[in-house]
């Protein structure tokens, strides 16, 4: 089931909300169980055959977590339990996500004829990473013992289950335990609806609206220079509004239940460096990779050279996490190289004089954006040959079409660029503060005009009117 579907908006969400608050009048536990069951139903709509796998994964990790938290095991045994837990998670993820890739490469290298077809369970990367973080924290002694329903809800919580954000147990489970979240709060419901509306609009009107232009670069016909740029920029903004829209919708839905999710997106195309970009794009994944991969690898604690090696390893694996294909590996490698250059420049490059700081920021923004756009070509292309072909067209200004269609499309792309660069983001509009658990204080204090309310109502209406029968989120594939 998609957030941008009539069945979700007009049936599933209202029913789950009503049930949650109705049960909240009676007990503190029943709404948690209700929400976890509703999340499983939500998941089943996307792939019913994978529900058992999800349940087994929860049971396995909860069991391993129990051994790490509640049992007084000696250090060696604790490490062995953690190893088994993480290895189990990675094995399942590896089989489902990478077996086909591995076999394809084996066939290519040794001309073997192995054949494997495994369907990727929806959201497996997200719920696996979530639980690996839980196990590592349990091993480190940073986890109190959680009740099974709360843990199960933490893993399955439907606003995040399919495409993130990657949640942290310490952030979520205490919220699930609070009695206050089970009572309807009109302010939070309104703020949630507004944030959901903005996200829905981004998805249905902006991302789905520009999606057809992507074929200019990645369609069946070889593009000209301008068509290649239009298509690649269209994808750049499609991905942006698609993912940003999903993240907003997840936050908005969760807010209606009184649960505050972490931010996952903070205007990444406004980044003035690649380091800054990764602090703004898929923020929870960046944090996960930093805390559970980069730092355990040694981070920057073993000298500058090893820091660059660790960065490259982290980004290569980050790329591979997005998809089992060489294009994703190259995408990750490119970002690894970008980050290394960025850190090297920060350490050894000249500093801009204060009076040129603004100019340097603008130059940094343009350079970062172009670097990211180039990398997106690999992210989008079905294979390396297509990616290289598109890049070669982008570098060949001798072949230009620029007819009426291209002019109109270029105008569209410019409008999207203006929105991405100049418009405030959702959390700025709504005053969403995850750390302080506050949102929409201006709205509550009546400091916002009624016009704001009606404008956001229009945004919800346009978002609903923009729903198409066939639409999917790009991050569902990961």
């Amino acid at each position: 089931m998609l957030f941008n579907s009539h069945s979700f908006i007009f049936l599933f969400l209202p029913v789950v909300l009503l049930g949650y608050f109705a049960l909240g009048r009676r007990s503190n536990l029943a709404p948690v169980v209700w929400l976890a069951l509703a999340s499983l139903v939500f998941y089943a709509f996307g792939g019913g055959q994978f529900v058992p796998l999800l349940l087994v994964s929860i049971a396995f990790n909860y069991g391993v977590g129990y051994l790490l938290i509640a049992r007084k095991l000696r250090p060696g045994l604790r490490f062995a339990v953690l190893t088994i837990g993480v290895a189990g998670d990675l094995t399942v993820l590896g089989i489902f996500k990478y077996a086909g890739f591995f076999v394809a490469n084996l066939n290519a290298l040794f001309a073997t004829g192995f054949f494997v077809t495994i369907v990727l369970p929806v959201g497996i990367s997200f719920y696996t990473f979530t639980q690996i973080a839980f196990l590592v924290d349990a091993y480190r002694g940073n986890v109190a013992r959680y009740a099974l329903p709360h843990y199960a809800l933490f893993v399955t919580y439907f606003p995040h289950l399919i495409a993130g954000p990657i949640l942290h147990h310490k952030d979520m489970i205490p919220q699930f335990e609070r009695a206050e979240t089970k009572r309807p709060d009109p302010h939070l419901i309104l703020c949630g609806l507004i944030i959901f509306a903005i996200g829905l609009f981004k998805k249905t009107c902006l991302a789905d609206g520009i999606q057809p232009l992507v074929a200019q670069a990645f369609g069946p016909n070889a593009p000209t220079f301008d068509q290649a740029w239009i298509g690649v920029l269209a994808y750049t903004f499609q991905l942006y509004f698609d993912f940003s829209g999903y993240s907003d919708m997840a936050i908005g839905i969760s807010l209606m239940f009184g649960i505050i999710l972490p931010l996952n997106f903070n205007s990444p195309y406004k980044a003035t460096s690649v380091v800054d970009f990764w602090r703004r794009w898929h923020m929870t994944l960046s944090q996960f990779l930093r805390d559970y991969l980069y730092i355990p690898l040694g981070g920057n604690r073993h000298g500058r050279l090893l820091r660059y090696v660790n960065l490259m390893i982290t980004m290569l694996l980050g790329g591979l996490w997005h998809g089992a294909a060489w294009t994703f590996v190259v995408w990750g490698a490119l970002h690894g190289v970008y980050l290394c250059i960025n850190h090297a420049w920060s350490n050894y490059g000249p500093k801009a004089p204060p009076r040129f700081a603004r100019l340097a920021d603008i130059a940094g923004l343009i350079l970062t954006f172009l670097a990211v756009v180039i990398a997106w070509v690999f992210f989008r292309a079905p294979d390396m040959a297509t990616a290289l072909s598109v890049l070669s067209k982008m570098a060949d200004p001798s072949n230009i079409a620029f007819g009426r269609v291209e002019m109109v499309y270029a105008l569209f792309v410019a409008i999207y660029a203006a929105l991405a660069w100049l418009a405030p983001n959702t959390q700025e509009i709504m005053g969403y503060d995850h750390e302080n658990r506050s949102v929409g204080e201006n709205l509550r204090a009546q400091r916002m005009r009624p016009l704001f309310l009606y404008a956001t109502a229009a945004v919800l209406a346009f978002g609903i009117l923009g729903i198409q029968q066939h639409s999917e989120f790009i991050y569902f594939r990961f």
Binding site: V405, A461, L465, Q469
Partner: protein, 368 residues
């Protein structure tokens, strides 16, 4: 009631009001003419046949339906009417398969046409997704069920077109809006039903349809790097299944409708490409004809026309834009052949034209 509660209600009511206004606009303007023919505002049409056909079936008067793929997309209804003395409705869909065609034709049958003119070839019978999994066909719109009608009325894209059509009907705005209605930003740019998917008068026909284009296409598809594409979609069992499911079932269930089925005059290069680059595919094409022709001729309401061996057309490469797509001049010839009942496959010798075609293919030598 708290301030937040009041704001929440205001917000929900305002959103609902806007959604309902858009639905009302769509209902009144009815861009697809799904509820009624355009009377209040001038009609506008889209070149997206798979969507537009759902409205045409409902709003147009017709006694003859014309169906096909891109090979039958540029026909003008006025030419069909003049040549055949009928009132036609063109429903051809570019790249369509038999499942899509059968589905659309079934919807058209509810209007009880007397005649169906159906351009067929073997490729339309390739394996195709279920109609509800076909993302290009708005199946519920044809079924006119709640999902279809709801999706149509509560569609922002359709509301934008409605707004555009309404604006164009206001005299002072008409010239400006008409200039902007170019099909790039707005999807209903055609004001005459006869012009849907017809070539514009200023189209460079000679520049597009000529021997150089045909030969270049032949070289392209027979290039060893790409020639595997010739066999794409060809699977004999699947094709026979598609033929029985989509063509025979429709013919069988409409015994009072005359089916004029014709196999289009591909350039000879199409078959020669198969002969040279993928003989197994050519054999499948032969086998399907050998199966389909006698089967079709079992039905008294079928008239079968095979134009594939009309040498004066198929061997004149100047008629083609590539190895299959013929020029509008050939469209007119096809209509005249249909009117004259020329090249009708005799019930007593259903495979005679196939044998002639085979001989032509074997004999043809490609110029170096």
């Amino acid at each position: 009631m708290s301030v937040s509660s009041k704001n929440l209600w205001r917000f929900l009511c305002a959103a609902a009001a806007i959604v309902l206004t858009a639905a009302a606009l769509n209902f009144v303007v009815d861009p697809l003419q799904l509820f009624r023919p355009a009377r209040l505002l001038p009609a506008m049409y889209s070149a997206d046949s798979r969507m537009q056909d759902a409205g045409l079936i409902r709003s147009q008067d017709f006694d003859t339906v014309f169906m096909g793929t891109s090979l039958a997309i540029h026909f003008r209804q006025s030419d069909i009417d003049r040549a055949l003395g009928v009132r036609s409705l063109k429903l051809s869909m570019t790249g369509s398969n038999s499942r899509e065609q059968g589905f659309v034709l079934t919807a058209a049958m509810e209007r009880r046409p007397k005649r169906v003119i159906w351009q067929m070839d073997d490729w339309i019978f390739r394996d195709a997704p279920e109609i509800d999994s076909d993302i290009y066909v708005p199946a519920d719109l044809y079924r006119r069920n709640i999902r279809g009608i709801g999706g149509y009325l509560f569609s922002g894209a359709m509301a934008r077109e409605s707004w555009w059509i309404a604006a164009r009907a206001i005299p002072p705005l008409e010239p400006i809006v008409a200039r902007l209605t170019n099909g790039v930003m707005f999807k209903f740019p055609i004001s005459r039903v006869d012009d849907i998917n017809a070539l514009r008068p200023d189209f460079d026909v000679a520049g597009f349809y000529n021997a150089n284009s045909a030969v270049a296409a032949f070289r392209r598809i027979t290039d060893p790097a790409r020639s595997h594409s010739i066999a794409e979609g060809y699977n004999y069992e699947a094709m026979v299944r598609g033929f029985e499911r989509d063509a025979i079932a429709l013919i069988e269930s409409n015994p009072n409708v005359t089916f004029d089925i014709y196999f289009a005059p591909y350039s000879i290069l199409h078959f020669v490409a198969m002969r040279d680059a993928s003989p197994a595919t050519l054999k499948m094409a032969y086998d399907l004809t050998a199966y389909a022709f006698p089967r079709l001729l079992q039905f008294p309401n079928v008239r079968l026309h095979d134009f594939r061996d009309v040498k004066e057309v198929t061997h004149d490469l100047g008629n083609y834009g590539d190895v299959i797509h013929h020029s509008p001049a050939i469209d007119l010839k096809i209509l005249s052949w249909l009117a004259e009942r020329k090249y009708v496959v005799a019930r007593g010798a259903p495979l005679a034209s196939l044998e002639r075609l085979k001989a032509q293919i074997e004999a043809y030598k490609v110029q170096p």
